[in-house]
Amino acid sequence: MPEPLLEVHALDAGYGDFQALFGVSLTLAAGQVVAVIGANGAGKSTLLKSIAGLMPSRRDAVMFEGAAIGDVPAHRRVARGIALVPEGRRLFPSLTVEENLLIGGQLGRAGPWTLARIHELFPVLSERRAMPATSLSGGQQQMVAIGRALMSNPKLLLCDEISLGLAPIVVREIYARLPAIVGQGLSVVIVEQDIVQALAAAAQVYCLQEGRVALHGAASSLTREAISAAYFGV
């Protein structure tokens, strides 16, 4: 196995007195897609926030390309090549569609993703470029959120519940673009409640339950029974 791109090692995280993650470990090789599944409140979003830097953690709890970055603030992690598509999309309402994409690329990291490439991936964003981002449909907003993250030309893309609140047909459409994204050499962590979607997209699966890794393995090797046991804790 090659040198891992991302290593989360015995990560604890929480909000105030509430501890959301207990000793979570996760490894991701370059070019790999990993899915993190689990019920509401299992700690999936907290895990992504800790990797992206929105939640500080122990210095060596998050290793990226061999460097300990657990205490590096979020705006510096983007420069290293970590991008997050946040839960609920969180587009900037005072910016247009195009401005939302441009601000994603404002650090000017070199790489394959440009405004033109994003428009190729999601042609509808080209037509709507001058509209306020929040005037778009939910699916189109999710495309902007993904495009905005790609514009930073990340090595690691973190996707938090991109299917949330979207019609199944739209979800399928968005997931259909995933191979084109991964084909650029990107590694992806997908957080999903939609298990079918997650298993289809990922090679490795981690199942979180109440802040702990309850199950981990290759997506093809895990049985439905094992997953539902880990998911619901029954």
Binding site: A74, V78, F92, P93, S94, L95, I103, Q106, R148
Partner: protein
């Protein structure tokens, strides 16, 4: 014709008030910080200009090439070292800290420069005027002041809506955590916004000091004028601050004409009337 002249003078003074307001509005818009020391910073800029004109022998209007960068630097440092620490979910800490800053600036200026009234001498331009015919005349300086105000607000508008820096300001104002995910350091973005605000303050301070006497105690009244112009124009609207400033200037000019004692009162009454009829201001920014 006399009244037309008075209204015209009021409009031109409104440009100055709009510059007071623009800096205030910008800071509130980007970081929800109400800067109680804004008026005193205007007075501070006037004193910086006084020192620059005295030591370098520059015309006050030329002194702007020094005063603007100096005030912008003060703004950046102030934000990075002090005000960033006060920002959070609670609106009270920045209010208290800038109130304290206001007291410190006033007393510091009093110690350094005494309570004597000062004025910047701009030379012949102060008394020059342009005749518009029909008995109407406008002073060259007020006209220049108004033109600068329009240019400053137009410039801010372009900066906010046409540049990468403006995009960063708007994004950080919208959603701080996600702005950080774009690689924006919000502490730096806020400090740039304060630097920009104090650059505008510097221009306003110099025009204030050329136009009339100033002393260390006049800051809070400028803050009130700025607030009134911002609220009348509508929070978050840059062109609105110009409209608000003009209404305030015209109301004061009319009040002063009726009775010299009514100048300030008329401005406050105009503010209350606008607030009663349109609490959201004349040009409220539509939130998406």
């Amino acid at each position: 014709m006399e009244w037309l002249n008075i209204i015209l003078q009021g409009i031109l003074v409104g440009g100055l008030y709009a510059m007071f307001a623009a800096g205030l509005s910008l800071i509130f818009g980007v970081m929800r910080l109400v800067n109680i020391a804004h008026g005193d910073l205007i007075v501070l800029a006037a004193y910086v200009a006084l020192v620059v004109t005295d030591t370098l022998g520059l015309n006050p209007l030329l002194s702007l090439v020094v005063v603007v960068p100096v005030m912008a630097l003060i703004g950046y440092a102030l934000q990075r070292l002090v005000l960033n620490r006060t920002l959070g979910d609670d609106l009270l800490p920045p209010l208290l800290v800038t109130f304290g800053l206001s007291v410190i600036i006033q007393n510091g200026l009093l110690e350094l420069f005494t309570a004597d009234s000062r004025k910047l001498q701009a030379g012949a331009i102060e008394t020059a005027s342009i005749h518009l015919g029909g008995g109407l005349a406008v002073g060259t300086l007020p006209l220049l002041q108004f033109a600068v105000a329009v240019a400053v607000i137009g410039g801010l508008q372009v900066l906010f809506y046409r540049t990468a820096l403006g995009r960063a300001f708007r994004a950080t104002s919208d959603d701080q955590p996600v702005a950080q995910l774009m690689g924006l350091d919000n502490r730096h973005v806020f400090a740039l916004a304060m630097a920009l605000s104090l650059a505008v303050v510097a221009i306003a301070g110099v025009f204030l000091a050329v136009r009339a006497n100033f002393d260390p105690s006049i800051g809070p009244a400028r803050l009130i004028f700025g607030f009134e112009a911002v609220i009348m124009g509508g929070l978050g609207s840059l062109w609105g601050t110009l409209a608000g400033g003009i209404i305030l200037g015209v109301a004061q000019a009319i009040g002063a004409q009726l009775d010299p004692g009514w100048q300030l009162l008329a401005g406050h009454i105009a503010f209350l009337v606008v607030l009663a009829l349109r609490p959201e201001g004349l040009f409220p920014k539509v939130q998406g």
